[in-house]
């Protein structure tokens, strides 16, 4: 280590990564033996060490370079600064929740999982995500970025007996590799411009830096799952086991956004074109994500699509901060960057909570299809309570953290609407307020459906009827995250205080975050609880008139079976019919029977949704490559004479070109 004095708490950070590395090595060696509790403990201790290290070296901006680990072009170098510690804190919290959740959940996976590889890949995944956030130069970033990608592909393919898991793993691997290729292109270009690999030397403010910044932006958009490139996300995240998809949706997607903030925003990029493009993509992915989330039957695919929406919101806030900084409104730029970072943190907590909830559901009912769930509130009360808290948080409803970050975004747009210089900018800002409220209402519909159909009403299958409550560890994990949601919601001013150094670095002038969040969430919560207590005690006294429990009202037909209950697709049918052209949504009905008009025997109804992007953009692209390869393979005909002809022709061409050159 260079001679500089390294504060002791940084050693805590390294020890966390050391623990995870040891865990990975140990997991590979123990192979098939089921040591889930042990490895959960190792993961938890790593997370706590990480948290401790972060708190220890909070204000300082320490950086270090390793002398012996060298990746050819640059050493393994790291740096802890407020921006990195925010995301590391998210990693630590999600990691500890996953550690608590895993033993109970993995027991249910049983033989379909190879414990050694699973835990090894999980440790590698956590370690590489941490290092990507900490990396100070492009080479370390790339190395751990690829390790993160590969380990998450292997984790998605954990239950690879199923064909869909294999297919999703391969699609995801292809998508991440293309994103890495774009990043490599961008880094090479920036290295050529600045002559060094360290992020601190890179300045994207110059005009020449527009193209590399665009390359970086595209690469990170693919990894974050922004609109046209999000196609892999609904495949990859649901197929992974619940703890892994919680980490992927909650934390890995944020790592891509962290990189965007670190490289493009803090790098000083002032280009308006890139920011406007980002804004458009973000808006479309917000609307697109939540619309498709509404249409999903599979609970985890619903959550994956909602990740696309939230990532869109975060990108919108980031793009706004770049635009506002270019328009010389530093205070508003700081506010929008605060909204972006805070929403990234919040989304990390409540999306992990929702995925863990879905995992608990999956482990007790062995299905994720909403049309086979229902009535789980009765026998899974704790999971339902936590999932409900997550849903309230993600729909940005007041007391919780989701509302706080969305409110900051609203405030940015609202203030831009009257502080921006030109009329079009003001119109766009106010328009975005409208779009944001539309997205808010859609996500409310989506999660009302998720909670309502999955947990409430009558159980739609006997698996749902016989569901048992998740184990203590699983509930503890969900409760921890639910507590985080509430805590983050109530401590907003303090958290904005922690973000202040990052904001001032981005806006290049001191930022006071006191006036950012003026809503007294605690007062509202207290008033709400008080009034609720008043309502229950005064109006619903127990010894009041008789409280009779009876069958649900069914117009006198007697207790109707669960089939008459509202299902997920019928809940979202009205919305789907309004957005039908966008969703390529059409309902296909077929009536069978001798006299179809009067005495239909069988009526079959199917919802057909053409995957628009895949059909018209991605499948033709893949087919083009296949075609190219098929054409080129015709060169290998097998005849020796043709091969000799190739040799002589190449000779002629080389001689002719050589003489001319």
């Amino acid at each position: 280590m260079a001679g500089v004095l390294i504060p002791h708490s940084v050693y805590l950070l390294w020890s966390a990564f050391g623990v995870w590395g040891a865990g990975a090595a140990g997991a590979v060696l123990t192979g098939q033996k089921q040591y889930h509790k042990l490895y959960s403990g190792v993961l938890l201790s790593g997370c706590l060490l990480l948290l401790g290290g972060l708190i220890g070296c909070w204000p300082a901006n320490t950086s270090w370079t390793s002398d012996f680990v060298f990746f050819g072009l640059a050493p393994l170098a790291g740096r802890v600064d407020p921006l990195a510690s925010v995301f590391l804190a998210l990693l630590a919290v999600s990691g500890s929740a996953v550690a608590l959740f895993s033993p109970g959940y993995l027991a249910h996976l049983g033989q379909r999982l190879h414990p050694g590889f699973y835990w090894a890949c999980l440790f590698l995944f956590m370690l590489s995500m941490g290092q990507v956030i900490l990396s100070a130069n492009a080479i370390t970033f790339l190395v751990f970025w690829e390790i993160m990608a590969v380990s998450s592909v292997l984790l998605v393919a954990t239950d690879h007996a199923r064909h869909s898991a294999r297919l999703s793993a391969l699609i995801y691997m292809g998508a991440t590799r293309i994103s890495t290729a774009l990043l490599v292109g961008g880094f090479l270009w920036l290295n050529y411009l600045s002559g060094s690999w360290r992020f601190s030397d890179w300045h994207l403010s110059s005009a020449a830096a527009l193209w590399p910044a665009a390359l970086l932006f595209l690469g990170l958009c693919i990894k974050a799952g922004i609109w046209p490139f999000h196609v892999w996300l609904p495949y990859a995240h649901p197929e992974a086991p619940a703890p892994v998809s919680a980490l992927m949706s909650g934390v890995m997607v944020k790592v891509a956004l962290y990189a965007m903030v670190r490289l493009i925003v803090l790098g000083g990029s002032g280009s308006q074109i890139l920011a406007y493009a980002a804004l458009c993509l973000a808006t479309v992915s917000a609307v697109w994500g939540v619309l498709f989330a509404l249409m999903e039957r599979d609970l985890k695919r619903l959550l994956a699509h909602s990740t696309v929406e939230n990532v869109g919101l975060i990108l919108m806030a980031t793009a706004l901060s770049v635009l506002l900084r270019a328009a010389h409104l530093p205070e508003l730029a700081a506010l929008s960057l605060a909204a972006a970072l805070f929403h990234a943190l919040n989304h990390g907590t409540f999306k992990s909570l929702l995925f863990l909830g879905a995992g608990a559901l999956d482990s007790s009912t062995h299905t994720r299809d909403l049309s086979f769930l229902g009535g789980l509130a009765r026998n899974m009360p704790w999971t339902m309570a936590c999932f409900f808290t997550g849903a309230v948080a993600i729909c940005a409803l007041p007391p919780l953290n989701g509302f706080a970050s969305k409110w900051l975004l609203y405030q940015t747009l609202f203030h831009t609407a009257f502080q921006a210089a030109t009329t079009p900018e003001r119109a766009i800002a106010l328009g975005l307020v409208g779009v944001l409220s539309l997205v808010g209402a859609l996500s409310l519909a989506c999660f009302a459906k998720a909670v309502g159909i999955a947990f409430l009403g009558k159980p739609r299958s006997d698996a749902a009827a016989r569901a048992h409550e998740a184990s203590a560890g699983m509930i503890a994990a969900q409760a921890l995250l639910a507590g985080c949601c509430l805590g983050l919601g109530l401590l907003v001013p303090q958290i904005l205080e922690c973000l202040a150094p990052v904001l001032s670095e981005a806006v290049a002038e001191p930022v006071v975050t006191a006036g950012f969040f003026t809503i007294p969430q605690l007062v509202i919560l207290a008033a709400g609880v008080a009034l609720f207590g008043l309502a229950r005690s005064v109006v619903l006294r127990a010894q009041g008139p008789s409280l009779r429990s009876y069958v649900t009202w069914e117009c006198g037909y007697g207790d109707l079976p669960a089939r008459t209950e509202e299902t997920g697709s019928s809940f979202s049918q009205p919305i789907a019919s309004i957005f039908a052209p966008l969703l390529q949504y059409n309902v296909w009905t077929e009536i069978k029977g001798k006299d179809k008009r009067h005495f239909p025997e069988v009526i079959e109804v199917k919802v057909l949704m053409v995957p628009f992007l895949e059909r018209h953009l991605y499948q033709p692209a893949v087919a083009a490559f296949e075609e190219m390869s098929k054409a080129l393979v015709r060169v290998q005909t097998g005849s020796i004479h043709l091969y000799l002809l190739y040799v002589f022709l190449t000779l002629l061409v080389l001689v002719w070109v050589g003489v001319r050159l």
Binding site: L397, P398, Y410, A427, L444, A535, G544, L560
Partner: protein
């Protein structure tokens, strides 16, 4: 002294006014149909009747059904305390536009979940329709309030609707547009006549009523009171908009202004009654066209808010 008196009047208004306002609407509608109609205090007596009635709860429901009425009651009271739906409302806390919107959204979430909880088909499609309508009108609601806020350069409703807010003193056009946008959105939000006939008993056509089929007894009392107060708040807000549109009112002294605001609320309620008497319930598939009018009003007020600055 006046502060205590103002609190007293306001609380008395909050407790009694909601059932009475529903009564007024029904009375005006009956009068238009040449019926004497029940007295305006009839809803109040209904509430008292519910208080003493027995309650039936479906055994399918979970804790959400029993607590959603209570949560909604708390939320609507908080909204009533924040939103300046009448001028004599004492200041409690800063009523931010987006906070209010999302408090309404929280109420909607709880109602929808309660409806789904009983596991009945009516609750299900009622919830689905409620959510679809909410999705269409929320942008309109937000944009109306936001356009007012943009011109008065603040997102605190109390400052926007206070008569000391000079930025909006000479903008009657904006007030009218925003007011009518708000009025139409509240018609949809409260599922009044053109959207859903509150007096229908055919479950298939219901939107709001379908969701509260399962409630009975004291639960129903809470739900009815919450709905009435929400009605009052929303119509009160659009009433304030129309009141601000009238230029001379800005010069009146404070006491007269609060009285005028109370009067405006009553007039708006009467307006709703008249409108219910005249119009007929639209088919579910034609509703988006009706809502399009509310959205157009909102977009017009946005245009005025953005372009308006050019004029002044």
């Amino acid at each position: 002294m006046t502060e205590f008196f103002r609190w007293l009047v306001f609380l008395m208004f909050v407790v009694l006014a909601p059932p009475v306002s529903v009564g007024i609407i029904r009375k005006v509608k009956a009068r238009l149909q040449n019926r004497i109609g029940a007295s305006i205090f009839q809803p109040l007596f209904d509430l008292l009747k519910f208080y003493s009635k027995g309650e039936t709860v479906s055994e399918v429901t979970s804790w959400i059904f029993r607590s959603s009425a209570g949560i909604n009651f708390a939320l609507v009271l908080i909204i009533a305390l924040l939103v300046p739906w009448v001028q004599f409302k004492p200041h409690v806390a800063s009523a931010d536009i987006f906070l209010v919107i999302y408090l309404f959204a929280f109420m909607r979430m709880m109602t929808v979940l309660a409806a789904l909880d009983a596991g009945s088909a009516f609750g299900g499609f009622g919830a689905s329709r409620e959510v679809t309508l909410a999705l269409l009108i929320e942008p309109a609601l937000v944009l109306c309030l936001a356009s007012l806020g943009v011109v008065s350069r603040t997102s605190d409703l109390e400052q926007i609707f206070s008569f000391a807010n000079l930025a909006l003193s000479n903008q009657p056009g904006l007030w009218l547009l925003a007011g009518s946008g708000l009025f139409l959105t509240s018609l949809v939000e409260l599922s009044r006549m053109p959207v859903d006939d509150p007096t229908t008993h055919l479950e298939l056509t219901m939107v709001h009523e379908a969701m509260i089929l399962e409630n009975s007894g004291r639960n129903l009392l809470l739900v009815e009171y919450t709905h009435a107060l929400k009605l009052l708040v929303l119509f009160g807000l659009s009433a304030q908009c129309f009141l601000h549109a009238i230029a001379p009112v800005w010069q009146l002294p404070a006491v007269l202004i609060s009285a005028a605001s109370g009067g405006a609320v009553l007039i708006t309620l009467a307006l709703v009654g008249v409108q219910e008497g005249l119009s007929v319930k639209l088919r579910w598939t034609r509703l988006p066209e009706f809502i399009a009018y509310a959205v157009t009003m909102a977009l017009l007020s946005v245009l005025v808010a953005i372009a308006g600055r050019l004029g002044s």
